[in-house]
Subunit: 709 residues, 2 copies
């Protein structure tokens, strides 16, 4: 019998703790080694552990179940307190260590990491991307912004009536030659800067995206550093800010709106790496317009890593619960055995199919996140070097790499953030009613997360803008025999799989599906045929007409990138004992997240046969789930997310779901408070006099007789 | 130029208001008449308008944008105040009028309607379903529960370790023959009653589901009325309650947990319509066990209606925004025209495809909701009559009808609540960043809504339990030539479409898809073939093995019910002018919500050809969207949801999205509060002394020299 802390038990209660401990003891592989794979190296894994330990023990940064009871106002203040605390670590961290710290913090308190990220990620990245080295040094280092001191920056891109279409922003920066100043102005309500993180209460400065106007000519959108508040934190003249107020989530962030009423800044507050205005009003334009938006790239890349950690966190909670929770007696129970316990949730094939793909996705996405993170670091360094050395060829090469990164990061950002959002929703549902309790983490996770699908490149807009060049490539291959380079080079197979080869089937049966490399090849052919078909429509109609197809192409492109990189990493991984366990997840990911989800496309374009799709449902998926099932505890333990990061009563390491959950509920809501503060009003309602009495007996028969006389 | 209230404009701002007004003026049909179709009759539509007017003008019941800024504690108290107010209307309402009122209230303040619904819906329904007429009269009328007076009831079904498996509940009700009492007891933590709405602070009584134990024999789960609090609202001895605390949504409800420690109730507190215990301890059992759970049926039926209103509300917000919002210059703009305005969001084919299906779904679901609501009223009345008259044949007939209702209401509840949840998420995303603002309604709508997918029958569990009898029917038709009756009678076509007829294609091309009756037939064949295939697997494996297929069968069954009933209603509708507009929505619903979503199944089982599915994407869906597009304002106006019900700044009737939104943001967050309450701490961080100074210069070179000596 289990010792229970929360009640006196007079009969045997449920014992989820033993279930998880037993399965943990029987694991076939070592989660510690698996963790090295997930984080890329032993060194990185250990750094992460050190950083987590510092934060878990820190009296201010630590997060627990009480987090779920804070109001917006409390979260705002608490977030500021945490930023203050973090700034002290920052004074000692290298920038790499600090980024790692911030990324981890984002798992258990995303509002804090965003509120810092806007300052150090977006504000400084904008200056880095658009300013000269001296401008970067001045604003970031000399003025101590980089250690959250002196200046607090915000990022003034979006406006009330303009989000995705940055080129259409309407705030103006008019050059006043006489005074050698720019006049920043908000011409009308639609141009009000909107959603600006930190603007409401924190920021002292803003990198403002505004139309450069010189001598009445509009040179398009450029970037300017505009002070919002002085060193006393009082608003500058002409600056109006306000609080955006209540949001779906991330309550800790003081998102704001800004209106500029003819605010004057010196000419040298313009960021001028690529565009300058001389004292005389001569404008020197950038070689490549979109470089000014490179500030967003870093955020997109970070969101792929965030998606990995979210997938890991959600699947860990739901799977631990599914191991400890029993429900009904399934087909694995002898119906004649009256004493038999109910079946563990995770022993139902449907429950496996609902949850294991998200666990597999965490593994697969981790590999893609590491790769794209490495790529951006290299690319930005190359660009900076080339600019410093005035190396034009180097600049153009880095710009090419940046374009390719735009495709990869955009397709990954949209696909992975959607996938993570879906995992939160599905994992919550898999925990039944308890998934709806705030203390199990799903609600806040969802509300905080889903903005990732919208900000810094709306997922659908990204889907279109990445699908479009792919279709253009295909049209160019068809028409001009173009040869595509880079991560989309598989498109060059076009003529082997379209036209008279348009019905060549790649996946014929269960055996083909179990070969991940065949699945990867099938994704290529699906992209080719879908793009080819979309291209035909584009010739007759327009790109707008095939928007839905473009989004699907982008998703498939991301799955191709992720699965290819994951398999490559598994192939080269030096721990051969782990390889089969890793490979099985690739198979499950391919079978569920790609083939099952896009079955309509794979069938329509003859990439898979109907036999293959039947086998998928009847053979591959159930079989893979069954093989993965025994090691689920080890697979999820490998994420090494501590109880603080998990922050879900039913998802703790010890698996003691009911005691942990009930204990937290009682701690946060002491049973002695069994009368509500408003109980008197409630009791007055229940004990109210009769309707007749409250109507002063005016409608009674007696009254009727008098009043009718 | 637009007159702007929120800023002084110096140049032309956006003018969304004119866009919606222009489209409204150009509408091709009358939304008022369409409203009669949606609500079933002119009378019903007018009743709804009267009830809404009463509530909109009521100083306590009225809801506006400030709703989104309340804390949990504020919402709890406000909800109680609203219940008090509602109770006064109730004293004058007929039960039908009151149910209608409560259903409308559920659109703009779901916590209030749930908190009342638990009392009047579940508590009283449980007594109605399981108690004798005298028991119902005593508890509901004589004790005035039905007017929320004297007694406040809650519904004690689920336990911490038991949700879906009601038969496995562990609370005990042991008969104490000596004292003629039952002893209600919670044996261990897992049997703690959990999620009980109203238990934390409101309820005086609970209908408790507990195992009946007589002479140490366990007779399974029965129902008992157990007082929790006395008339002073003090807890009864042996009763412990607590607050469940923070949830994902519905903060206004005081969900609680209850533990009973040998609580004694008189024998006659047992509900005994179908099961009695005599003074001597003799147990008379019910003819059909599951009848005791009929309390949940009413709630499921109500959720279909809720789904209609949610689909209508969400699509109205997102579509009004999509009409007023401009973004990029699409293919419909002359690229040479520099003065051209950006394209309205809703003129992009992708945006149409993303949103119009939810609007169509609102129409289609409305028809199914009306039908299933009518069915339950008739069935319950028949059952009550038969029981009153001791008419055994009548009871059995009503029980058959109840079984059929279980199938229909369960498949509709799960499918429609999922669909509504999806619509909230998708409509929010379609509004970009503004969808994430609390003031536009999506966040709270989602958080309040998604519990509908879990409570009163988890959607996946329902999916399995409804798919299973369908597959069993198919097996019985195959093996024994069984003939199926009722709403699944189409299964009798089994042999015409399986075996050697297994590849007969129903939908061949765009023309077939445009025929809704062919789509309905195709759904039948898809259900038949999927069930037949699942049946083959069941013979080899088990029902658990095909859980995912069972859920899909259930979804298709619901779509079949909805689409059939909708088409039937349209066919018999007396306004022939509206028919083409109604029919077009059925086509779009069939094309998107059925064929596009289940393309994998339709292709795998040869119900549709690949050519048909290609046409679907290239021809049918874009064409239907284009035809529906001009009347979107009229279609959404037809829902006649007032601005209070919509409660979204960007979704108001006047379409003045930016002014309304900015105005509300300013009202709730006055710009004068541009320093946060915690600003001093923030400023202290920014203006903190240098690290060296804070370290008391202990790490300086000078200190180093001294300390190294």
């Amino acid at each position: 019998m289990v010792f229970t802390t929360n009640t006196v038990s007079i009969s045997q209660g449920p014992d989820p703790r033993s279930l998880i401990q037993k399965e943990r003891a029987e694991s076939k592989f070592n989660p510690q080694k698996m963790q090295y794979f997930l984080e890329g190296s032993k060194e990185r894994a250990e750094l992460i552990k050190q950083l987590l330990q510092q934060m878990e023990r820190d009296p201010i940064l630590f997060t627990d179940g009480s987090y779920y009871d804070f109001t917006k106002d409390q979260l705002r203040a608490l977030t500021a307190t945490k930023i203050n605390r973090i700034s002290r670590y920052l004074e000692g961290d290298s920038i790499d260590v600090f980024n790692r710290r911030l990324s981890l913090l984002g798992v258990f308190d995303p509002a804090v990491s965003t509120r810092i990220g806007v300052n150090l990620g977006l504000f400084i990245s904008c200056i880095r991307g658009n300013g000269t080295y001296e401008q970067l040094k001045y604003w970031a280092l000399d003025k101590e912004t980089a250690t959250i001191k002196g200046i607090y920056g915000c990022f003034g891109m979006t406006e009330l009536a303009h989000g995705s279409n940055i080129m259409g922003l309407e705030t103006t920066a008019t050059f006043d030659k006489a005074n050698d100043e720019f006049i920043i102005n908000t011409p009308h309500i639609g141009a009000t800067k909107w959603w600006i993180g930190g603007a409401a209460h924190s920021s002292t400065h803003c990198t403002v995206y505004a139309r450069l106007i010189v001598d009445e000519e509009d040179y398009g959108v450029k970037t300017f550093v505009v002070p919002l508040r002085d060193s006393n934190h009082d608003l500058m003249p002409g600056v109006t800010v306000g609080d955006i107020g209540a949001k779906m989530g991330r309550d800790g962030i003081d998102n704001g709106w800004i209106q500029f009423s003819s605010v004057r800044i010196p000419r040298f507050f313009m960021l001028q790496k690529f565009c300058k205005v001389s004292r005389d009003g001569e404008v020197i334009l950038p070689p490549l317009e979109q470089l000014s938006y490179s500030a967003l790239l870093g955020g997109r890349v970070m969101m792929v890593l965030d998606s990995y950690r979210m997938l890991a966190r959600m699947s860990t909670i739901a799977l631990r619960y599914a191991i400890g929770r029993r429900q009904f007696k399934g087909d694995n129970v002898d119906p004649d055995d009256e004493e038999a316990l109910e079946t563990q949730l995770l022993d139902y094939p449907l429950h496996q199919k609902r949850l294991l793909p998200y666990m597999a996705a965490a593994y697969v996405v981790s590999a893609g996140a590491l790769k794209v993170e490495r790529t951006i670091e290299e690319t930005l360094a190359e660009l900076d070097d080339a600019v410093d050395e005035d190396d034009d060829a180097g600049i153009m090469k880095a710009i090419d790499a940046m374009k390719s990164l735009f495709i990869d990061s955009g397709s990954l950002k949209s696909t992975c953030t959607w996938l993570a959002a879906e995992s939160i929703d599905q994992c919550r549902q898999a925990c039944g009613g308890h998934g709806y309790s705030a203390y199990n983490g799903f609600g806040k996770a969802y509300n905080d997360w889903v903005v990732q699908c919208t900000w810094e490149g709306d997922n659908n807009v990204l889907g279109i803008s990445i699908g479009k060049p792919i279709v253009k490539h295909v049209i160019a291959i068809e028409d001009d025999g173009k040869v595509v380079k880079g991560s989309s080079d598989f498109l060059n197979q076009l003529k082997d799989y379209t036209g008279s080869n348009g019905s060549k089937v790649i996946l014929n049966n269960a055996s083909d599906i179990s070969d991940v490399k065949k699945i990867i090849h099938a994704i290529e052919i699906a992209i080719i045929r879908l793009s080819y078909e979309a291209g035909k429509t584009v010739r007759k109609e327009s790109f707008d007409y095939v928007g839905a197809e473009l989004v699907n192409i982008t998703k498939l492109k991301a799955h191709h990138y992720l699965l290819s990189e994951y398999v490559r990493r598994v192939d080269e991984f030096d721990d051969s004992e782990l390889k089969p366990y890793l490979y099985k997840l690739a198979q499950l990911y391919g079978a569920t997240m790609v083939l099952d989800k896009f079955a309509g496309i794979f069938l329509t374009f003859n990439v898979a046969s109907t036999g293959a799709i039947t086998d998928l449902a009847k053979i591959n998926i159930p079989q893979l789930c069954k093989e993965i099932r025994p090691n689920v505890v080890a697979y999820t333990d490998s994420f090494q997310q501590s109880d603080m990061m998990i922050n879900a009563a039913i998802g703790k390491y010890d698996g003691d779901i009911y005691e942990n959950y009930f204990g937290l509920v009682k701690q946060q809501n002491p049973p002695k408070d069994h009368k509500a503060p408003y109980s008197a009003a409630l009791e007055a309602m229940l004990n109210r006099p009769s309707l007749e009495q409250r109507e002063r007996f005016e409608k009674t028969l007696e009254a009727g007789e008098i009043l009718s006389k």
